[in-house]
């Protein structure tokens, strides 16, 4: 080997690889047959390695696998082209707007009925308060209770009761009772006093 070659005056492997990668050739490599031979060998090695790597990939993706892949691609393209299916909403359900209007009407009717009932009830209550003493005009006279059929025993009992009451009254001072009676207001007079003048 010549001195220059032995002591690295030739292009380094990195320089040759850079040239393989696309860098422009150096002046030395263009003129040196040794470096050109090395460059060619290195280039062949790179190509063989790449070919080997490609063959490995081709062994994985066989023609059958590629055919399946193509079918799947075309199926996906067809599916992508189809427009989305529109699902009809279930029938029988009324439209929300109509449903809300009916509800409103129901509530309004219920409120009206309730108001009427409240009004009637309050009117009735006031009416009852105003006429607490029933008017005598429309009333029928109180009828005496039907006398019970007299028997000798019952007649004798009644007489005895009455006599006892009389005796009890005889013992009470009539003057004192009369005073109390005068002081006690009559119910009718009290009711009439409570009514407005127009209704007395």
């Amino acid at each position: 080997m010549r001195f220059a070659e032995k002591f690295g005056r030739h292009a380094s492997e990195s320089a040759l690889l850079a040239q393989i990668a696309g860098e422009p050739a150096t002046a030395h490599v263009s003129s040196c047959p040794v470096c050109q031979a090395r460059l060619a060998a290195l280039g062949a090695w790179v190509d063989d390695t790449a070919a080997e790597a490609g063959a490995m990939a081709d062994a994985v993706f066989t023609p059958e696998r590629l055919a399946e892949q193509k079918s799947e691609i075309l199926r996906r393209l067809e599916a992508a082209g189809r427009s989305a299916r529109v699902i009809a909403f279930p029938a029988g359900t009324p439209a929300p707007a109509l449903q809300s209007t009916r509800q409103v009407l129901r509530w309004a009717a219920a409120a009206a009925v309730a108001g009427m009932m409240v009004g009637l009830a309050s009117g009735r209550l006031l009416d009852l308060n105003g006429s607490a003493q029933p008017s005598t005009a429309g009333l029928q006279p109180r009828s005496e209770p039907a006398p019970r059929p007299q028997t000798i025993a019952s007649a004798a009992d009644d007489l005895d009761e009455a006599a006892l009451l009389d005796a009890a009254y005889d013992r009470i001072s009539l003057d004192s009772l009369r005073t109390i009676d005068d002081m006690t207001p009559r119910a009718r007079e009290a009711t009439l006093a409570s009514l407005p003048r127009s209704r007395r």
Binding site: E13, I20, A21, E23, D47, E52, R65, G81
Partner: protein, 225 residues
């Protein structure tokens, strides 16, 4: 090395016009041809990005569907394959980010192994002899490990440049990186691959020398007896 494929721009433009005119059935028929032409390359790129066949499959499907649904935004200044590969790589990057976020919280089961095994458990290559087959599988296993050791971007740029045969300008458009960055990534990828594979070779050679020495010692001791 595969020769770069170029999509006739008029096919993509025709599909764009059909979609714009709401003639979707015809557009899908024309698009099926585009899928057939590009899916193998797309699958290789996605597989080397994601290192998992199922993920790569889904990423490729998503990219094709997205490209069709967004065909209106395709412009003629770049070939269709460049535009489409950009969509694919962005999708792969999103999947990688999602996977890393998920893996932060979920401890993978040791038995399941995950997708990383898929590349190493490849269909066994057939050689002229069982020994050649075994050597070929061993070489592929080491290559898969070495590729897996590269950062994602370096791995993709390496594959796009040297397997797909794309120029640095096209790779730049696909990855969104500028051309000088693409060259830097490519340089680093090749250097790292070379280093990993060379060290693997050294280890294999050392192992073989040790085995040979052991065999010779055994023969010598038998001869002495």
């Amino acid at each position: 090395m595969t020769a770069p494929l170029t999509e006739p721009e008029n096919v993509a433009a025709a599909i764009k016009a059909l979609v714009a005119g709401h003639r979707l059935d015809e557009a899908r028929l024309r698009y099926a041809e585009v899928v057939s032409r590009h899916q193998r390359r797309a699958s290789r790129i996605a597989l080397h990005y994601l290192r998992d066949a199922a993920d790569a499959d889904e990423a490729v499907q998503d990219a094709f569907v997205k490209a069709f649904t967004h065909i209106g935004s395709y412009k003629d200044e770049w070939p269709f394959e460049v535009w489409f590969t950009r969509i694919l790589i962005n999708g792969c990057l999103d999947r990688l980010k999602a996977r890393r976020r998920r893996d932060r919280w979920i401890v993978p089961m040791i038995e399941s192994g995950g997708g990383e095994r898929e590349l190493t458990e490849i269909m066994p290559a057939r050689g002229p002899s069982p020994e050649d087959t075994m050597l070929l599988n061993e070489r592929r296993r080491r290559l898969a490990d070495a590729l897996g050791g590269l950062p994602d971007r370096q791995r993709t740029i390496f594959m796009l440049s040297h397997y797909e045969g794309l120029s640095s300008k096209e790779v730049s458009a696909m990855t969104g990186l500028n051309e000088s960055t693409v060259r830097v990534h490519l340089f680093r990828a090749v250097r790292k691959l070379r280093g990993m594979l060379a060290s693997g070779e050294k280890t294999k050679d050392e192992r073989r020398k040790t085995e040979d020495k052991t065999e010779e010692d055994g023969k010598r001791s038998n001869a002495i007896r």
